[in-house]
């Protein structure tokens, strides 16, 4: 039986009818058309589906849509400020951290969460913060560099 739920995504309220077993990833992608959240494995192994729930990086493929009710969800579509990319996104672009780009939304969201509670992470902390996000293209070095660059950019802004 479908249930009506309210999801707050990127600051906007949505009302959708979902089966109880619908994952948040499916609700975002199928019901709300927010396909920037990628599905790489559906079982919590790859991090491509990472979103922030109340600021905490979460695998949306493992979260049920009904569980997300009443929480603030941030997806990649809500990261940029209108037409202006977020400094984390800028850093990923400029440093060359994006190849096929499939891992990028998840990486960007994990980075946002990291820099939020630790604005000045060490290389080691960056590596650990991203260890749940797989990337098959870049070999991670440029992604780690991008996180450092993002930290610098954000400090300049604040």
């Amino acid at each position: 039986m479908k249930r009506i739920i309210h999801l707050k995504v990127n600051g906007l309220d949505h009302e959708i009818a979902v089966e109880p077993r619908r994952t948040l990833a499916e609700a975002l992608r199928i019901d709300l058309g927010l396909t920037g959240t990628r599905i790489g494995c559906s079982i919590g192994d790859c991090g491509a589906c990472t979103v922030l729930i109340d600021g905490v990086p979460s695998f949306s493929c493992l979260t049920l849509a009904v569980e997300a009710e009443g929480h603030e969800i941030l997806t990649i579509e809500g990261v940029a400020d209108g037409n202006k990319l977020h400094p984390v996104q800028e850093a990923f672009v400029e440093v060359g951290a994006i190849q096929c780009g499939f891992c990028t939304p998840g990486m960007v969201l994990s980075t946002l969460a990291l820099l939020d509670y630790n604005p000045d992470p060490t290389e080691d902390e960056i590596r650990r913060a991203l260890s749940g996000n797989l990337c098959r293209c870049t070999g991670y070095q440029k992604i780690i560099d991008a996180v450092k660059d993002a930290a610098r950019r954000m400090k300049e802004l604040s």
């Binding site: 920037g36 990628r38 990261v79 672009v93 060359g96 190849q99 260890s131 797989l134 991670y140 440029k142």
Partner: protein
């Protein structure tokens, strides 16, 4: 007029990076079409069985199901290189990924549910999972579609030789014979396979939104499979979430999706989940290599004799032709007077192998480089010296008749030796004072095609250029972007030539109805071939612009420079904006469009029937030196530093290049230390990321990259191919480093802590 390069060689973010960073890029799984259905595939339960009956009635009754098809319902020809793979199997199944039926339904969940309701009766059979078993005289035929005079289970034999091997054996002071076992590795593209097929029963045309890296061959092949005209099939490539060679073949799910769309008259989408991706996408060839290598008393290599049995799996993809590349390494990496190469791709009832970045070369290089260390050791020679002594050189014509018109092999070796701080009496003890941790350094080189590879009647690429009245350039190229950054490289070349800003350049490369022919993304050919094609087109475009500009500026064509959006006369200093010149051409008699097309065919040659000939216009060389630390208590291997020197001809985009190098090296590390798709009696044991580990951000070492610029005379700005090379020498260099550290014997991959511990125990 010659000017300094302003764009080429400068770090340039990828043109498409912003779209990808914003989440707006549309991958296969994101495509949505009106009235779209979702497809799912029923695969066999047993690797080998006769199919006694298939009952789809329950599936058909499930609300939301629109169509169910089996092999009996369709009219489709076999796919794959040897046309030995039915799209939907009838009568029998040969491996665990075999497709038996497919469903189209209104949602993906319903389609998957319906698949479970299909009832299949099997008569389970014994299979053959070892290629050596398959080669026995009394072995039954595995794939019923194979013909030919070979053993019935040989999918593809290769034989090559040069030089007088017997004479070279007599000359040899040392001879090393080793059997190597290389595992099944799989691509693990982060985006699982996805396709959307849209067949219109009104105009009888099929549009496929798919992820192929060879759109024109794919189009042609799809037409053959479906008995359609190629021009009635339009291939639109979605953004591709990783390729690495996996998208070089067509797989059954693609025509199945088309058939479901044809059956229902509605668009149908099939996306794999990760488990299906692991089981039903290709692997690197698992193989056994018997390699005998010789060297004379001075350390000059004398001969190599390689005998190889590859596990083809149940069907034959392009991947069965990897020996074509492997033999180049056996015959020509380092100078070599004599070589015998004998390889057979052998059918088994395992999942089938495909093409994978490096195309056989990682396996070949592993064997060659391991044996070199063993030769050096037996000769009492330094392992770096022996490599340097035998290194390839410029203008070398190899035994296989490949011509090294530019060659940075020696330089690459010297750089990595130097930068790694290697010295022959290198200490094996780690920084830790206990002798628990041991360190070692290993070397390996690589040779790979770098200027196309002639394997198809055309190795070429077309380019159409259009400059609009606002001075903006559209590059329509046959080549494809699979994340490797080719779009950006092409735009940089155009920006350089025309003096216009990158943001005024658009690259169109995803639609076979629009773009000109190209053979596809393979053989690290795109920068070289598509780059040369673009430069040819730019020359034509500039001719048009220069003629008009010279007239307007009352100057000679030779005195014009293109810079900052202007065409300027160096004699008078006067200039016109480039868009103004275009408008003069366009709107004033004789009213011409500022558009051109150009086709480039590289000088690569078909090899003769003895596999001799200059298969590529140029070749790439590289060397790596890798330092590891082994924990002798746990067997854990920590890769500390990887030094990579690669002959790239010329650096076009340092940012993209470093990305290719780092990504390749880390993939090579996965091959060396982590990755194996385990198969037992035809079943895949680890079809997920927690049992099949790929490197993560915590695993990676420091990667130091030193480009070697040899300015290839045929390359665009001197550049040559890059993409495959970086992963090729990584596994052997790591293996050699581990042997250097702890002196164990390594003949197979991946080198897991368990294997290290076992070897240490056996040695003790």
């Amino acid at each position: 007029m010659k000017k300094d390069l302003k764009v080429i060689g400068k770090p340039t973010p990828k043109l498409d990076a912003r779209i990808r960073a914003s989440g707006q890029a549309v991958y296969g799984q994101d495509v949505v079409l009106p009235n779209m259905l979702h497809g799912a595939i029923l695969r066999t339960k047993y690797p080998v069985a006769d199919i006694v009956s298939i009952d789809v009635s329950k599936a058909m009754q499930l609300p939301g199901v629109v169509a169910v098809i089996t092999g009996d319902d369709i009219n489709a020809n076999n796919i794959n290189y040897k046309r030995d793979n039915p799209v939907l199997k009838r009568g029998r199944v040969n491996c665990i990924r075999d497709e038996i039926a497919a469903v189209a339904a209104v949602t993906r969940e319903i389609a998957q549910e319906a698949v479970k309701l299909i009832e299949v009766k099997y008569n389970v059979k014994e299979g053959i999972f070892d290629p050596f078993e398959a080669l026995k005289d009394d072995a039954p035929q595995i794939n019923e579609f194979v013909k030919g005079d070979q053993h019935i289970n040989i999918a593809h034999p290769f034989y090559y030789e040069h030089g007088d091997i017997e004479a070279q054996k007599r000359k040899s002071a040392v001879i090393i014979k080793t059997r190597f076992e290389l595992p099944r590795m799989t691509h693990c593209c982060l985006a699982p396979c996805a396709i959307t097929a849209d067949y219109s029963n009104v105009d009888k045309r099929l549009t496929l939104y798919c992820v192929t890296q060879i759109p024109f061959l794919f189009q042609r092949d799809m037409a053959r499979v479906l008995n359609m005209a190629p021009s009635d099939i339009r291939i639109i490539q979605t953004v591709i979430g990783g390729g690495f060679g996996s998208k070089l073949d067509m797989y059954p799910y693609e025509p199945i999706c088309a058939l479901l769309s044809m059956e229902t008259g509605r668009p149908v989408q099939i996306t794999f989940d990760r488990e299906e991706e692991f089981i039903a996408s290709p692997t690197r060839q698992k193989m056994t290599i018997d390699l005998t290598s010789g060297a004379d008393s001075k350390g000059k290599f004398t001969f190599r004799e390689a005998r190889i049995i590859m596990d083809n799996g149940a069907y034959t993809s392009w991947g069965a032709t990897t020996p074509f590349v492997m033999m180049q390494t056996f015959s020509s990496m380092y100078q070599l007077p004599a070589c015998i190469f004998d390889a057979k791709a052998v059918y088994t009832n395992n999942v089938y192998a495909g093409s994978f970045r490096g195309y056989g070369n990682p396996q070949a290089t592993f064997a060659v480089e391991r044996n070199i260390d063993l030769l050096a050791e037996k000769l009492g020679m330094d392992k770096f010296e022996i490599r340097l002594k035998n290194a390839n050189y410029k203008d070398e014509l190899t035994g296989q008749e490949m011509k090294f018109i530019s060659c940075g092999h020696k330089e690459a070796l010297e750089i990595v030796s130097d930068k790694s701080g290697y010295s022959p009496c290198h200490s094996r003890e780690g920084g830790n004072l206990s002798n628990r941790y041991k360190r070692g350094i290993g070397f390996a080189s690589m040779l790979h095609v770098g200027g196309g590879a002639k394997i198809y009647p055309s190795d070429g690429c077309g380019t159409n250029l259009k400059m609009d009245d606002f001075g903006k350039l559209t590059i329509i190229t046959g080549s494809s972007e699979i994340g490797q950054g080719s779009e950006t490289v092409l735009a940089m070349m155009a920006s350089e030539e025309l003096g216009i800003d990158l943001k005024n350049i658009k690259v169109i490369n995803t639609d076979t109805d629009i773009k000109p022919w190209d053979v596809g993304v393979h053989a690290s050919r795109t920068t070289f071939v598509a780059g040369n094609s673009l430069l040819g087109a730019l020359k034509l475009l500039k001719e048009k612009l220069s003629n008009k500009a010279a007239q307007l500026l009352k100057t000679e064509i030779d005195d014009l420079v293109y810079e900052d959006g202007l065409i300027e006369s160096t004699t008078s200093g006067e200039s016109f904006k480039i868009d103004k010149v275009v408008r003069e051409i366009h709107f004033k008699p004789p009213n011409e469009l500022c558009a051109v097309y150009y086709y480039y065919e590289p000088g690569s040659e078909f090899q003769d029937k003895y596999y001799k000939g200059n298969v590529s216009d140029t070749y790439a060389f590289a060397a790596q030196a890798i330092e590891v630390e082994v924990d002798t208590y746990t067997g854990n291997i920590k890769v500390l530093d990887i030094h990579v020197a690669q002959d790239v001809g010329k650096v076009i985009n340092p940012l993209g290049l470093a990305g290719q190098i780092e990504g390749g090296v880390v993939m090579g590390m996965g091959y060396a230390l982590l990755e194996e798709l385990y198969s037992e009696k035809g079943y895949i044991l680890n079809p997920n990321f927690h049992d099949y580990k790929i490197p993560t951000s915590v695993d990676i070492p420091n990667i130091h990259f030193y480009p070697v610029e040899t300015n290839d005379p045929y390359g665009p700005y001197g550049a040559k191919g890059v993409g495959e090379a970086p992963l090729i020498p990584t596994a052997p260099a790591i293996a050699n480093a581990i042997v250097d550290a702890i002196g164990i014997r390594i003949v197979d991959l991946p080198i897991t802590p368990e294997k290290v511990l076992k070897a240490l125990k056996n040695d003790a």
